[in-house]
Every structure is written in structure tokens, then in C-alpha cells.
Symmetry: C2
Subunit: 176 residues, 2 copies
DNA sequence: TAAAACATGTAAGTAGTTACATGATTCC
DNA sequence: GGAATCATGTAACTACTTACATGTTTTA
């Protein structure tokens, strides 16, 4: 998986500008993928050069003009070949877990802060994702809904485990 | 968090060669961090140049010689300053979820394979991690054990959700 | 009139991977 | 003698991020 595949996937459904693609990343799958404008725009140029998408300038009222990209038949074919490949290994990079792993070298105060902030952070992520699912409910395919639900159950498991640990460590109940 | 911090953290406990550091990555935290030899060796040279670690050639019997690196006081100080920083945002990159998200564009057979392979993959990861925890039980600090447990509960939640989905999709019970 | 949102793009740098290259030593 | 493991390193490349640069339009 690289950004090219993801952009082609988004454009399969309907044409979008680079700005809209970035919004799509944030709205629909920020929890398992992200990319910056610094990658999106050059990638769109590259895909256009490969004739996998075409560009069209669109004037807007009340907003600056935008470049809207449409996928070509070759682009769709390219995306289909991505889709039937086996999924690559999932990669997690967690600075929280790294801090926790080396926790014995830090003082108790630092570790308490780490755990509390880690817990609050996951609670916020859970709430955001849940809200997103409720807002988007009608627009989501069953597959897309499952994506979000898989995120939610994993967050929930993490939260419950950490709450349990904080509760039984003599710090009193973790505040909700 | 970058590789430098992680290597310094490992060397805080005891001196290691580059090869041993790679083994440590694989054994103790492959599920939330990884790095290749192509990064480890240049990073060790760089850390040595910064006087954060020192190198010593060690002859071994029955094995090739190795370069063993020891952390300096400056290196320890550097690592401590990493440890008290707030943890960076966790990053997940999941090709499985991306495939699932675009599932409507694939046929049923492809999606079934994806879900089954995704489930089996997580089950394998769960088993590996569980085995590791049991093997390492005596060597692990409570913090380190919690790291692994947080991994396990999240894997478990993913597995249970996917099993439930596969069971109720008329495909018969998912094989264990 | 300033901030926020919309919109596009580039340049420099970071942080890594993969593949290559080499060699010792052990075990089957 | 060949595979596996131990061991180190480099070169080319990939894939990004961050910061910079610019400009429009709306909203408070």
C-alpha cells in the first residue's frame, strides 16, 4: 500500500481535488492511514503523468478555484490489481508503549502522567471515532462500518485494561 | 521517538552488539516498533560519533567477533530527557483496513479471503505474543508485562469482532 | 481587519528500507 | 558441502514530513 493506491481508491467513487482528498483521509480513515499535502499534490501530478487520472480546473463561487482529478480506465485497472493483492503486514509505531517499556528508568510521577495521558488520549480517540460513525452512518458501506468498529473495539480493550491497572494501583478510581 | 532513543534505552540496561539489538527488537517489541540492520549499524556509528556510546571489539569462541556498544553518561542523560517527554501520537498503518474500506469494489470471494487471512494473521500474532510473555515471564518488569498485555487485549478484541462477523455472515462458524 | 477555511504547490530534509557485499562458524 | 545462524557494513532508493511560499474568500 502506498499513497498512490489510496488516492486511486478514493477517486474510484467520484472525482476530487487534492484538498478534498486530504479531508477524506482525515474524516474516514485517519486512524489507520494519513498523509500530508506535501505528498498528496506531488502524487496527483505523478498519477496524471502516468495517465491514471486526469486533471480539470474548476471555478467555484465563494471559494478559490480547484483542480479536480478524475480516474481513468487505466487507473481503475491499477486500483483493482492493488485490491486483489494480499494485505501487507500491519505496522504500529507506539511511543506510548516505548515509554512504558522503559518505565523502570523513570520515576513514579512520570509514569503516572504517562498512563493517565495515554488513557485520556485513547478515550478521546474512541469518542471521536464513535461520533464519526454516528454522523456518517447512512453514508457508510457495511465494510466501511466494520473498519470503524474494529478500531472501536481495539480502543475499548486498551481503555478497559488501562483503567483496570490504574484502579488497582492504589491511585483511586480513574476519573471518567 | 526515533531509533537513536530506542537503542540508547536498550543499552541502558547492558552493553550489546548491533546484531543483539536487532534480536532485542524482534523478541521484545516487534509489535510496536521495528528496525532493520540498514538503520541499526549506521545509527550505532552516529551515536558513537556523538559520544553517547562507546565501541569495543569482542572476540567470541564458536562465533564471529562482534562490536559491543556501551552507553556513556552523556548517553544516559540523553535517554532520560527522551523518557520525560510526552509520548508522540501513535501511528497505525493498516493495509488490511484499507482493503476492507474499499471492499465494495472487490468481489465476495476476495473479501472472504481478506477477512479470513486477516483473522488468521491476528490469531498467529496473538499466539506468538502470548508465548513470548510466558517464556519471558521472569525477566519482564511489570511495565514491560503491561506493554504485552495491552497488545494482547487489543488483538483479542479484533479477533472476537472478526469471528463474530464471519459467523453471522452465513459462512458457518469460523474455524479455530 | 484579522482569523479561519479553502486551495495549490515546492524545496529541503528526515528516516527509514531493500538489496548488495562480505565473511566466520556451526550443524546437518 | 550446503544451509542456518552469527556478524557487520554500505549504496541506492523510497516515502514520506516540515516548512516555506502564495493566494482567495468568508466569517466574526
Amino acid at each position: 500500500m502506498n499513497i498512490q493506491d489510496v488516492i486511486l481508491g478514493i477517486l474510484c467513487k467520484q472525482p476530487h481535488s487534492g484538498y478534498e482528498i486530504k479531508r477524506h483521509f482525515e474524516e474516514y480513515f485517519s486512524f489507520f492511514f494519513d498523509a500530508s499535502f506535501g505528498t498528496i499534490y506531488p502524487t496527483l501530478s505523478k498519477l496524471e503523468g502516468l495517465n491514471l487520472i486526469t486533471k480539470e480546473a474548476v471555478r467555484q463561487e465563494g471559494k478559490p478555484d480547484k483542480n479536480v482529478y478524475t480516474i481513468t480506465e487505466a487507473g481503475k485497472e491499477h486500483f483493482r490489481s492493488y485490491l486483489v493483492q494480499p494485505a501487507e503486514k500491519e505496522v504500529l509505531r507506539s511511543d506510548f508503549l516505548m515509554h512504558l517499556y522503559f518505565g523502570d528508568m523513570a520515576d513514579e510521577e512520570t509514569m503516572n502522567t504517562l498512563l493517565r495521558e495515554g488513557l485520556q488520549n485513547k478515550r478521546d480517540m474512541y469518542t471521536d471515532l464513535e461520533q464519526k460513525m454516528n454522523q456518517l452512518d447512512g453514508k457508510l458501506s457495511p465494510h466501511q462500518k466494520l473498519c470503524i468498529e474494529l478500531g472501536l473495539v481495539q480502543y475499548k480493550a486498551f481503555i478497559m485494561k488501562l483503567e483496570h491497572v490504574l484502579e488497582s494501583s492504589g491511585e483511586g478510581p480513574a476519573p471518567s
